[in-house]
């Protein structure tokens, strides 16, 4: 097995162990409430034990038939993940719809749209139409921010 083949079993094993540890920290419920049933911590621990058994089987499978190596994602994919983080930051710091418009514009460009006016109009018109639909038809009130403060007053 190559070193990279250990990544998936390793990550899931660590995850399962962390969940078991966190489950063991959960409060115990009084026997009067639980009765003959199980403590709230029991079920997640039971699940993670099953997971660890399955990970053992998966590792054995990888040992017998090593999986094909996965090529590294292109720049577009990592860029899109970064844009999701940018979206989070902009929503918290500025405005929900401003964040959508900025991320949409950058995503269009990142994914290969060379016509700037097309990317810009997509990024402006789509959020606007979605806002009108949700605000006027579905009566949804969106979180306040730079733009929506101005709109809601």
């Amino acid at each position: 097995m190559k070193t990279s083949d250990w990544i998936v079993p390793g990550v899931i094993t660590v995850f399962s162990c962390v969940v078991i540890y966190l489950s063991l920290q959960l409060d115990l419920s009084p026997p009067m409430i639980v009765g003959h049933s199980m403590q709230p911590r029991a079920f997640p621990i039971f699940l993670m034990v099953i997971n660890l058994i399955l990970i053992g089987l998966l590792t054995y499978q990888f040992y017998k038939n090593p999986p094909a190596s996965i090529p590294l994602e292109p720049f577009h994919t990592w860029g899109t993940i970064i844009l999701l983080i940018v979206f989070y930051g902009l929503t918290v710091a500025a405005d929900f719809f401003l964040a959508i418009a900025v991320v949409m514009f950058l995503m269009c460009i990142l994914w290969g749209e060379k016509r700037i006016p097309v990317a810009l109009s997509t990024a402006l018109v789509t959020p606007f139409l979605i806002f009108v639909l949700f605000d006027q038809v579905l009566m949804i009130r969106f979180p306040r921010g730079i733009i929506l403060d101005w709109y809601y007053g």
Binding site: P40, Q61, T80, G112, E113
Partner: protein, 492 residues
């Protein structure tokens, strides 16, 4: 029976519902032809829009999206050799070669007729089988439900994508996700890390939008800059009498296969179309034509994948166990609208159930008309650059998830589960098992707890209940079946 027919035919008398089915069929076909957006992603994105509708209208929208998008995947499979949905993957084997020979219209004609027959056949089976199964399920108690949900989870092992062990790991992860929040009987907080937005657990819709739509967005980002070229098609032709003579047996066989595969928990249209295609080849007198433009191959795959749609609705509505990724979303739609999936649905809300079935039949007829007269137009939509399409999907995904409970937490859940789904898929894990595990998670735990209470902590008493024991045996077979089958085929 008469009441059922009355309820089904009342759909035709409701002009708003008719208009809704028509509009949703168009949307469903568009969703089906757009690359990467299948029925599941489409239904997840549209779910927030259904919240203001009546339960029947909302479920009709989701069910119509399901049947029309499943069919529409074949339009792009024929014209640009890219299946719009995974269920249409088997269609490309013969459709594209036929299209390259200048017979795209004939290929599409066979596909649309086969899909319609498959879809209507499966809804008829649904109308007959669902109430019968509901009568049996009416007597289920917690041990039977616990065993049944375990059976549903065990079937994840046989989903085609990913492999048995990876699918089961995904299913277990999904069940764990369902434990986040306050434990229902004791109120003890689990994995909330002090965040009280999670007190009632994670909502289904943002998790599903994340797993299906957002992870697909990241997968599609790998295809940025890719340009598809379309095959020109003059007009869609209905199959000739000779064609019908050649394919009718295949259609009948695939209808049965598709419906049966659809009924099995966690199986879906993709598996059905592959098996439908393989069986069409096995029984054909012209095996050599397969892969080179066989209309029997097209009929086998297309009637099976649409027959699976009605089949998958059986366990969803009667038992609350989703038959596929899209029916998992329909199940969430039922719950959001206060229609409790299960046998009681067939006693307490029977008129609504049959209206939904009637709407599904109508949706099948509508996509027949659209497939015949507007396929060329829809095929053009599939050429929309993904650099424009997916940013729009992103906007709908985040706004739609926010709108459910006006909470930004739901948007963050979409981003988190989108990223989890992407990395899972990158390493060969399917996201459908996570979704199915998440839906069944609460059912498994609650029914296990209630069973333990019933038997005063003696868990082995579950095995003494005949139906529960049967489901547990089936669960073991579901887990070991693929392994045994694999060993047997290797030996051959």
């Amino acid at each position: 029976m008469l009441e059922a027919l009355q309820a089904m035919s009342s759909v035709i008398l409701d002009p708003f519902l008719l208009l809704l089915i028509f509009a949703t069929t168009i949307i469903g076909v568009i969703i089906g032809v757009l690359p990467g957006i299948g029925a599941t992603t489409g239904a997840a994105l549209l779910l927030p829009f259904t919240l203001t509708m009546t339960p029947v209208h909302a479920i009709t929208v989701l069910a119509t999206i399901y049947v029309s998008a499943t069919f529409a995947g074949s339009i792009t499979a024929i014209l640009i050799n890219t299946p719009g949905t995974s269920a249409a993957a088997a269609t490309t084997f013969d459709n594209f070669p036929l299209a390259q020979r200048g017979e795209a219209g004939r290929a599409l004609g066979v596909a649309v007729v086969s899909s319609t027959v498959g879809g209507i056949f499966s809804v008829i089976v649904l109308c007959i089988a669902a109430p019968m199964l509901a009568r049996v399920a009416y007597h289920f108690r917690p041990p039977e439900y616990f065993a049944l949900t375990l059976f549903g989870l065990s079937m994840l092992a046989s989903i085609s994508y990913g492999g048995a062990i990876k699918n089961l790991i995904g299913g277990v992860f999904g069940v764990w996700v369902a434990t986040i929040g306050a434990e229902p009987t004791t109120g003890i907080e689990r994995f909330m890390f002090g965040n009280y937005d999670l007190y009632e657990g994670l909502s289904f819709v943002p998790v599903f939008i994340g797993l299906f739509a957002m992870s697909e967005l990241l997968v599609q980002s790998k295809k940025a800059n890719q340009i598809a070229s379309a095959i020109t098609m003059k007009a869609v032709k209905l199959p000739t009498i000779e064609d019908y003579k050649k394919i009718w047996k295949t259609i009948v066989r695939s209808c049965g296969i598709g419906t049966f595969i659809g009924i099995l928990p966690a199986e879906g249209a993709t598996v059905a179309s592959m098996i439908g295609y393989a069986e069409a080849r096995r029984w054909s007198k012209n095996k050599e034509e397969f892969g080179k433009g066989s209309i029997e191959g097209i009929a086998g795959a297309e009637s099976a994948n649409n027959a699976a749609t009605g089949g998958a609705m059986v366990p969803t509505m009667v038992l609350g166990i989703p038959g596929s990724g899209t029916t998992a979303i329909i199940l969430v739609g039922l719950m959001v609208h206060g229609l409790r999936p299960g046998p009681y649905l067939f006693t307490e809300q029977v008129d609504k159930v049959y209206q939904i079935f009637g709407a599904m039949i109508l949706a099948n007829v509508m996509f027949l008309v659209m497939g015949l007269y507007a396929a060329k137009l829809f095929a053009r939509i599939s050429l929309v650059p993904i650099s424009i399409l997916w940013p729009i999907v992103f906007a709908f995904a985040v706004v739609g998830s926010y709108s459910l409970s006006s909470a930004l937490m739901d948007v963050w859940i979409v981003l988190i589960f989108g990223t989890i789904g992407f990395f899972a898929r990158r390493h060969g894990f399917a996201v459908a098992p996570i979704a199915v595990g998440f839906i069944l998670g609460e059912m498994v735990e609650t029914n296990l707890q209630n069973s333990l209470k019933m038997f005063e902590g003696q868990w082995w008493m579950i095995l003494t209940q005949p139906l529960a024991a049967l489901f547990l045996v089936l669960a073991v077979l579901g887990l070991c079946g693929p392994m045994i089958f694999g060993m047997l085929t290797r030996r051959k």
